[in-house]
Each structure stands twice: as structure tokens, then as C-alpha cells.
Symmetry: C2
Subunit: 345 residues, 2 copies
């Protein structure tokens, strides 16, 4: 087999067959994938005890077009697994199965594809999910940019779990799971070739363990809304939650964590860390009486060790997010209208 | 809103929000999507009576990179829905829910995106599935070619249904549901600007109704293998089935249907119709005693009216497909090694 991707690798013929057998089947090793039927056929809830099948299916998708493909702390493969695992987790579901769709530009070094597939396999193993079905397309030079990956994911939301952006209520505590902006600034500093002392690392991580711990620690129904901080950053996540639930949100600037190296690159590029993407952080809106237990449970987890209370849900200004500054002033937080950070994920 | 796609439409900010609300939410109208959470949360089997929940989940994905985006008989949107519906059907599952991931090149006319979304909605309505979750990414000019769409799909395979490429047995009847090569030649004649009398139409169609009728008509367990004919055509589908099941397959050339206009373009381009894609045809391997009932049920369906017996599964030459010609000779049918028809789906 040649060491670069050819158009024929996407033609559905002999080379497609060889590519799948060489790159994907061994790395994503599982019986459903190895069967190579048109669809994977799966037990719905293998990890869940019989008698607890009542519940609902969670289903999500994201395409990943990050540039560059490889960056400190991750790559497009890790991102593609973590992002979809996280989206399932944000509705309180346990992620179970992923699909993987590859759109490859002719000429991509096969080693790059293998490296991305290795990362996908490692991230899937960490998150405890299986990549059970996939697809490979190849387009001519100049018709794509190296590699795009789509993942879709299915998970299981047990009966009684109802976590939604529409469930926030006035009084809820707002918990942010860690420092802001690390993924976005890692990508941008790399892309812009910024002269920084140490390369910034993306925070890309699967958050299903963190969410499971949070849901276990809080009384049933006390975790109202979860959202992971991706494109648009904390600002976009909170505006969505405020709009979906028809509530106001107050954010305390002094409670937010932004690492000095992230803050200084933001300043250099004229960006507000509130708008910069993470890929391993979430915001939780939790009933006030459960806030302390929720916070403690999150802090005990690897990806929540710096979790902190950072605001609250209010009845005032429904649909709007207000930032309270350390000086006692306040300003409206909104979605960005333009595009400052293209191809961040 | 501007009438062309901007990078900011993929930034996760205000324009992304507006694009989703304008283009996708109204067309794909359903409660799960309108909720706009990170994942859709779904009843697993709304159309299935209580007490029949036993079964397994079917899960599949495909990315669509067809060029051009619009063609006689369909477009990338219709293809993206039908292709994934068909993949679920090929394991005997009832398709229920789809995801839709869009990768858009900056500058795409918004009207093209709307037209593709209209087609997706129409195809989903015909197939009886809902598009419940999605994602939109925008990449700069030259980093993609107009529009790529990924769909993933989940369906439900009731207990007792076991249709797999690995289940073929010597003696099985081979049924092809209709004429070969129509999708591939529709795309190629358009792309090559061939001077033909009437434009060829793609056969792109959802096959779940056809499969349901087939499974109902045949005794339980009699439908062993199904495969829709996409990239690589009937040849690739049969080679896969022969390899997966470890059986031989004999195909009767005189029983295959190829329309004259498809045959003449194939001749012009030097292609064998056996290797040319359909998007609305399937091959079924069925226990011999069920073949007549299966064929009758397929012929009663819109997309199976020209179904015919066209071969059989044999114990000889396992893993290989042999074509018997009208002259009494035979030749080996194999996958293509090169790429003759790039970006056909």
C-alpha cells in the first residue's frame, strides 16, 4: 500500500477495503465494527443491569475541521471522540457507541491518518466507548484540507435523568469546572506562530466521568443544565442556557479562572477569554441546596479539580447574561457576531 | 442575513444561531431538534408497541461528498438521507432517527444549503425518519468543495431479526431489486457533459419500505443478507457478501437489468455496469424456499417493481463471485483496484 492517500482509497473498491482493514479495524477493535455490515447492530445497554432498561436514547453529532490537525494536548482524532462523548454527557446520558466518518484529501500522509486513529482509539478507551461503524471518503487535492472527521454518538439516559438547557431555574448555582480558553488559545498560538515560552496545551478531555460523578453526588433532579464550553466559549454556552430556559444568568468575573499564559495571548490577539473555546470544561446549573455536594464531587475528579462556583441563575433579565466585575460594575455578555477563531474544532 | 455562507456562520456565535434557526429547525421540524441541547434525547421505539422492546440498536454513518451537489433525480441532501436510511435497512432495522453534520465552504450560496435541506426534509418524510440533531462547520474558500454532509442514523432491529453479510448460505437465491448503474451514470454524464438525448436520472431512493415488505413476506430468518448497491456497484456488494459469509456467488448476466442509456454511457466511458453505483437498489440473499414470496413482495413495492432472481449462493469457490454469461462462459467478478468514479456519493 502506498504511503499517501489516493482517490482510490475512497472508491469503495480494493484499496478502500485495505485501508479500513489496515487503519481502522485493528485500532477500534470490536466485534460490531469487525463485522463490516452496512450498520452496526448493538446491544443497547451492555453496562446497565437488566431491569433498568427504562430510559431514553441520546444521539448527537459533530464534524471536526480543526487546523492544524495536531496540536499540543491533542489532535483532530482526540477532539472528535471527546467532543461527541461530551455532548452526550451534557444531557446526562452515558456515552456508549460512536460512529466515525472520515473525509480525506488526496495526498494526506497515511501516517497522519494512523496517528489520528490512534488518538481516537485512546480517547475512546479512556471514555469507555466503542467506535462501532464508520465511513471513508476521499476527495481530490484542493477539495478538502487534509482531514475532516465526523463523529456521531449514542448514549443512554436512564429514566429519571432530565438534564437540559431548558431546565435552569432562578436560584440555581453556576459551577464552572476549570480554567477558560485553553483549547482555543493552544490552537491560535500554534497557528499564528506566537513567540511564547512554553507551548500552550489544549484541555481536550472526555467529561463523562466528571458528569457521572456529579449526577451521583447530587440528589435526583438537582442537576438542571450542563453545557460543555466549545466554540463561542463560556459566553455562548451561558447565553444559550439563558435563552433556552428563559432565565437570567449572573457571572462573577472574580470567580473565573484564566491562566496567565492564556490571558496574555488573549490580550495579544484582542480576545476575551469568555469567548474562547475549551474542549474539556463544562458549566453546570445546579439547585442551590445541591451546590456544595456537586462541587465537592467535581473537585474529586481529574477533570474537575479546579471547579468553582462562579455565578447564579436569576429571574431578572430573562435570556440575558450579565458579568459582574470585581469593581462592582456589570456588563452584558453576548454571543460574538463575527468570527474570530475559525476552525478551532 | 447575507445570502452567502460566511466563516462566522460556523463560529458558534450569533450567525451560527441564526443559520440553524433559519435553515434547519423549520425544515427538520421536530421537538428533539428544536430543543437545541447538545444531544437529542429520544424515545427509542415510538412506533413499536410496548412489550416488543426486545431487540438491538442499529447504528451507521456515511459522509457525502458528491460532485455536483445537484443532479437529475436527487441532490446531496436526498442522497445523505437515503444512503443512511438504506444502510440501517440492510441489517433489517427500522430506521428511526438521523443526525446531520454540515461542512460548508465559505461562499456557498445560502440558497444551495436551503435547497439541500429541503431535499433532506422531503426524503426523511418519505422514509418516516426524523433528523433530530446536527452540527454546522464552515471552512475557508478552497478548504472544502461547496458542501459535504455527514448523516448518522439509528434504528431498531427487533429481536429475531438477524440480517448480516455473514449469514449467506449455499443454496440461497440472489435477488437484485432493479436496474443497475443509474446513479453513477447520472452523475458521470452530468460531470463529463456527455451529449445525451435525455438527462439520466439517479435512482436515489429510501429502501426501508421495500425491506420491511420483504421481511414481512419471508418466513422468519429466511432473509439472510441484504446490501444496497453504492460505491463499487453490484460487484463490490457481492464480493463483500461472499467474503463475509465464506461462500461462493454465481451471477447470471442474462438476468441483470441495465437500461440502454446506462449501457451506452458505460460503453462510452469504458465502464462495466457491474461496478457502477446505484443509490436505490439492493441485493438480497434469501433461503431458496422463501425466494418466490420474497420476490413477489418486492415487486409489489414502488422501488422493487423490477426485482428479479439473478443468481445463487454456492459452496464452491468461497469468497469469490463468478459471472455466467449468456454464451455459457464464466468470469471472475472482483472489486476495482483503481478509482474510476470519484465523488459519486
Amino acid at each position: 500500500m502506498t504511503e499517501r492517500i489516493l482517490l482510490a482509497h475512497g472508491g469503495g473498491g480494493q484499496l478502500t477495503h485495505e485501508l479500513i482493514q489496515r487503519v481502522f479495524v485493528p485500532r477500534f477493535a470490536n466485534a460490531a465494527l469487525a463485522r463490516l455490515d452496512d450498520a452496526a447492530v448493538l446491544e443497547l445497554c451492555p453496562p446497565i443491569a437488566p431491569g433498568t432498561r427504562a430510559g431514553r436514547l441520546a444521539f448527537t453529532t459533530d464534524s471536526y475541521v480543526v487546523s492544524p490537525l495536531f496540536f499540543p494536548g491533542g489532535d483532530i482524532g482526540k477532539l472528535a471522540v471527546c467532543g461527541t462523548v461530551n455532548d452526550l454527557s451534557m444531557v446526562g446520558a452515558r456515552p456508549l457507541y460512536l460512529s466515525a466518518g472520515f473525509i480525506i484529501e488526496e495526498g494526506l500522509p497515511l501516517a497522519d491518518l494512523e496517528r489520528a486513529a490512534d488518538s481516537m482509539a485512546a480517547a475512546a478507551a479512556e471514555a469507555g466507548v466503542s467506535i462501532v461503524t464508520g465511513d471513508t471518503k476521499v476527495v481530490g487535492r484542493g477539495s478538502a484540507d487534509g482531514l475532516f472527521i465526523n463523529t456521531a454518538g449514542v448514549g443512554w439516559a436512564p429514566a429519571g435523568v432530565d438534564v437540559s438547557g431548558a431546565n435552569a431555574r432562578p436560584g440555581d448555582a453556576l459551577i464552572v469546572s476549570g480554567a477558560l480558553g485553553e483549547h482555543g488559545m493552544a490552537i491560535m498560538s500554534l497557528r499564528e506562530g506566537l513567540p511564547i515560552a512554553a507551548p500552550l496545551r489544549s484541555d481536550c478531555a472526555p467529561l463523562n466521568g466528571l458528569v457521572e460523578a456529579l449526577l451521583e453526588a447530587a440528589p435526583a433532579g438537582a442537576v438542571h443544565s450542563l453545557r460543555d464550553l466549545t466554540r463561542g466559549g463560556l459566553a455562548a454556552a451561558l447565553v444559550e442556557l439563558a435563552e433556552q430556559s428563559g432565565v437570567g444568568i449572573e457571572l462573577d468575573e472574580s470567580r473565573l479562572l484564566v491562566r496567565p499564559e492564556v490571558a496574555s495571548i488573549c490580550e495579544l490577539l484582542g480576545l476575551d477569554p469568555l469567548h474562547v473555546a475549551n474542549e474539556g470544561k463544562l458549566v453546570a446549573l445546579v439547585a442551590p441546596e445541591a451546590a456544595e455536594a456537586a462541587l465537592a464531587a467535581m473537585r474529586a475528579q481529574r477533570y474537575g479539580s479546579e471547579a468553582r462556583l462562579a455565578g447564579r441563575v436569576v429571574a431578572a433579565h430573562p435570556g440575558r447574561v450579565v458579568l459582574r466585575t470585581p469593581l462592582g460594575t456589570s456588563r452584558l455578555v453576548d454571543r460574538l457576531v463575527g468570527e474570530q477563531l475559525p476552525r478551532i474544532c
